[in-house]
Symmetry: C2
Subunit: 414 residues, 2 copies
């Protein structure tokens, strides 16, 4: 008889965004005449910039000619892309990352989940609220006990991000081996400044911990005091793995390209205390269980680093920033409390009347036909908050904000 | 202190094809004037058929227009592709597989590795020789003890494929919970007929086992007595997961698209004997740790099912079949013993003079500038064999066979 991985049975419910998707479809099916506006999943809406599009086509063309056809590429990604990333994303910002420390992949979601393959038993610390994949993949990997009555899992360390600490939790005063940090943060939209990040790097150096640093939204940073990479902090190469993505910066949510930086200085320990290179382990994992990203997609990603590509990406970022400004203004007018939206495409908002997150989700869907993301989907500390994404198009954002302004918020919510 | 997954330390050496790649590069660097012909890794060389190429371009174009832009797709793949697969690859062959039992992914290598996420402790049986990913991913997942002096891992059940059983091992007379089968086989090139596969399905039904059936090369089957899918065998939906790929059939090694079929009838057990749907577990795994295949790539894959696309794919398969015929004729003339190459793009050959696989690899590289794959890289039963792939272009295959014919094989190999 074949035995299942019982850790899966500990998972409390379906993946957050699947549930939002289902509720939305259900509403849309029963109200086909209503225009539903999606501020839920952080999905981009604007087309690939033309320089990237041309490079994508060129890559496809090469696949159609025997002279330029590419079969299996290096599992770690083509050097032409890894070199561009090393230079522009790291070295030019003072972070000494080499091309062979960069692993191209098909998504940060995949990598943040798969990275657990290389780790053994550890005390895992996750900010709360957090991107659900961090928690769920730890449950699947058996890094927790059963779920508790409060909805948290036994054995995981939850680092509460709340109004008191301005949604940037400080390092704890006890041992945590693996720490998930995300900046600019999903879902709170709050970025960590140099001082806060240095505090975490120092904690990890002192405790021989590893920080899993999710920087998928770094391109939204406008303030120079916020590092784009954890490797801008001294000695971070000894304690951090960084996840980056082209999804939210170059519109690649449907094209699929990301990368993970595992520095060669980064070590873990086996049970007898021998140091083992995490770079070597991830390289082995990546080359055994992955087969490289589609060649034309890598060509497209590389075009993001051309002068023109970079210019077009900035325009794309500004398009979504315009939405952020509009939404923030709307929230101010209504009198909602919110955070983020400054160095981030996400805005984190307190629900009115202490409604629960899902109550407010239902309210917004049923009355304003706006899909938001319930904060509780990101952890118990997210209860009574919700996330708004700025990835809609201008027209939809305009309509949604008008609907919000028209609603009489002083009335009791039905 | 962060602890590593110590199972990785049990892995005996680098991934086979990386080692071949390195040895080949080393030779080429020291002999820049020599033309090395690669019969090693099973990598395609011929361009994408034009119908597929056009669909790929169309997909890219859609990404460049806000009206047709696609962000995140369903993690399981677009329905347009899953419906085509269900109809043409399964239902038309009498296998009752539904679109929602099909999960699109970026590669069968990834899926055959990642599938272990959903399983617990089991007795795992793997044919020997076998695609190295099966063994390596089981080691990583902790499904074995340490390596033994013979190079096999304690705790794994090796199902020897040898000349005596014509490289089709029969079911064992004891319990195995998970069984890896690959037909047409990589590396031996031998396909399992209906009777042999039925024997395995019946074994799995009797023992409540799950067969992980790798059918990445099914399109090479020419003989009607060989099933293309394990689901052509009665009741296989209760005992099998099937892996398929566009890599070797439509030239997608560099484009990246594959799929895995997990039937809804397939169950595993938890430790108290409750049945749990493996389809549900894989759906959860796939939607938590994967984010869908690039949209233009899925468009390209769908074009393989058009009438014209199918015709072009048959031409592509015939191109490689021509190589197989040429290589087989050459081996016959030289007097080598070989198997496969009939319903498969692989030919499995006995080394001359009982040379070890790597001795013969070095001999071929240094003297004939031909890269073959050492059989021992696929398991100890592969020692003194080597694999030739038929994925070269005609010109290279011609040159390589001429080199082989010119060599005086009666001479002692230096």
């Amino acid at each position: 008889m074949v035995h299942i991985n019982e850790n899966f049975l500990k998972l409390k419910s379906r993946y957050l965004f699947s549930r939002i998707g289902e509720k939305t479809s259900e509403y849309q099916n029963t109200h086909p005449d209503k225009k539903v506006i999606r501020f839920g999943i952080g999905d981009t809406t604007q087309p690939l910039p033309s320089t990237i599009l041309h490079a994508f086509h060129r890559g496809v063309d090469e696949m159609g000619d025997a002279a330029t056809y590419r079969g299996y590429g290096p599992e770690q990604g083509y050097l032409f892309l890894r070199e561009l990333i090393a230079k522009f994303d790291f070295q030019e910002r003072g972070a000494d990352i080499k091309p062979d420390e960069i692993f191209i992949s098909d998504g940060s979601k995949c990598d943040t989940g798969n990275i657990l393959d290389i780790f053994g038993e550890n005390i895992v610390g996750i900010t709360d609220p957090a991107y659900p994949v961090y928690v769920d993949t730890n449950i699947m990997a058996g890094n927790s006990g059963p779920i508790q009555s409060n909805g948290q899992y036994e054995g995981l360390v939850y680092l509460s991000a709340n109004e008191a600490n301005k949604f940037c939790p400080e390092p704890p005063n006890h041992q945590v081996d693996i720490i998930y940090l995300c900046s600019p943060n999903n879902p709170t939209g709050v970025a960590m400044n140099r001082q806060q990040l240095t505090q975490w790097v120092n904690y990890a150096l002192d405790h021989h911990s590893v920080i899993l640093f999710d920087a998928a939204y770094e391109k939204y940073i406008r303030d120079d005091n916020f590092p784009h990479s954890i490797f801008e902090i001294p000695h971070a190469k000894k304690v951090a793995i960084e996840f980056r993505s082209f999804s939210k910066t170059a519109g690649f949510t449907g094209a699929r390209c990301a990368f993970t930086v595992v520095p060669k200085d980064l070590m873990g320990e086996d049970s007898v205390g021998t140091s083992v290179s995490l770079h070597d382990l991830w390289n082995r994992r990546h080359s055994t269980k992955f087969n490289g990203v589609s060649y034309p997609v890598q060509c497209a990603a590389a075009a993001a680093y051309t002068e023109q590509g970079n210019k077009e990406i900035t325009e794309l970022l500004n398009y979504y920033r315009y939405n952020a400004e509009l939404i923030k203004k709307t929230l101010q007018k209504i009198g909602f409390h919110y955070w983020g939206g400054e160095n981030s495409p996400y805005i984190w908002v307190k629900t009115p009347q202490n409604l629960s997150s899902w109550e407010f989700f239902d309210f917004m869907l049923n009355n304003l036909q706006i899909v938001i993301t319930p904060g509780s989907g990101f952890g118990i500390a997210g209860e009574e908050y919700f996330r708004i994404t700025c990835f809609g198009n201008h027209e939809d954002t305009q309509i949604a904000t008008e609907r919000m302004l028209r609603w009489d918020w002083n009335e009791l919510i039905p």
